[in-house]
């Protein structure tokens, strides 16, 4: 585990109590580790800020989506029909051919 990962795990409370205590001692005695802790704390606070940040959809979004939905809904049954009809005709043709052969 590198130092960044260890510091983050410490801040998130993911270390065992013993390792966490060792980490705490290191932070108190090594200024460069303390600096890392401050940097990651700042990073985590910024991510927390982004969690709550939600942007509004642009103007005309809903109208455009409704258009797309309507287009798909009108189009899909035709696509379905065009795919199914040739298949049905083929099955019917095979059945008729078998019947004729049997006769």
């Amino acid at each position: 585990m590198d130092l960044d990962t260890a510091v983050l795990a410490y801040l998130k409370g993911e270390l065992s109590p013993l390792t966490s205590q060792k980490m705490k001692n290191l932070i108190n005695t090594k200024p460069y580790i303390k600096q890392k802790v401050l940097e990651w704390q700042s990073y985590m606070a910024k991510m927390e800020y982004l969690i709550d940040k939600i942007y509004l959809v642009p103007a005309g979004y809903r109208e455009q989506l409704i258009k797309k939905l309507t287009k798909k809904n009108n189009y899909l049954p035709w696509v379905g029909a065009l795919t199914i009809i040739p298949g049905l005709l083929l099955v019917l043709g095979i059945r008729l051919a078998r019947k004729n052969k049997a006769a």
């Binding site: 700042s42 990073y43 982004l50 942007y55 989506l65």
Partner: protein, 175 residues
């Protein structure tokens, strides 16, 4: 109206129930797409495509997760597919940096995130903003578990350093 009720109504054929879902999650899905794609217009198209998929799939939703989780999963998958499609068209690899100008309304922190190379931006967003476990990130991004961990780790360090270099340290600058 509660999600369960919305779902029941949609399954009964009352399609306006879908618009209640839109009211609830429209902005969240758009924001999520923006964070994956890093571009407002692409985010609009991808999030709308996600809603088309949600509309088509809603009748088959079996409630194995919450409806929000299901919607988010579709939105992530659609956005990542769009991202790959876009990168194929421009022949840019996923680790190529996007140097963009983002509207001021996004703020400095979001702009730094949006400017990260695609794969790091997606991985960091999934982990640190949307709190997905590594296993889920690997599944969504179609990469191995170890790759997901590496991407999140490197992405975090890149973003942390960028925020530091940009001098976005004091609380008053970004709140």
């Amino acid at each position: 109206m509660e999600e369960k009720e919305i779902l029941e109504q949609f399954k009964k054929g009352q399609e306006e129930a879908f618009f209640h879902l839109l009211d609830l999650y429209e902005n969240e899905v758009y924001t999520l797409a923006l964070r994956i794609l890093g571009h407002a217009e692409d985010a609009r198209d991808a999030s709308q495509e996600a809603w088309l998929r949600i509309y088509r799939g809603l009748n088959h939703f079996r409630g194995e997760s919450t409806i929000k989780t299901w919607i988010y999963r579709i939105a992530f998958n659609t956005s990542l597919s769009e991202l790959k499609k876009k990168r194929r068209l421009t022949s840019l690899p996923l680790d190529e940096e996007i140097i963009g100008e983002f509207p001021e309304e996004y703020g400095e922190i979001e702009s730094e995130l949006l400017n990260l190379p695609d794969k790091y931006r997606s991985a960091v967003s999934l982990k640190d903003i949307y709190k997905y476990p590594y296993e889920e990130i690997a599944r969504i991004m179609k990469i191995s578990l170890s790759s997901a961990k590496v991407l999140v780790h490197r992405g975090r360090i890149k973003l942390k350093n960028r925020l530091k270099e940009a001098g976005i340290n004091e609380v008053k600058k970004w709140i």
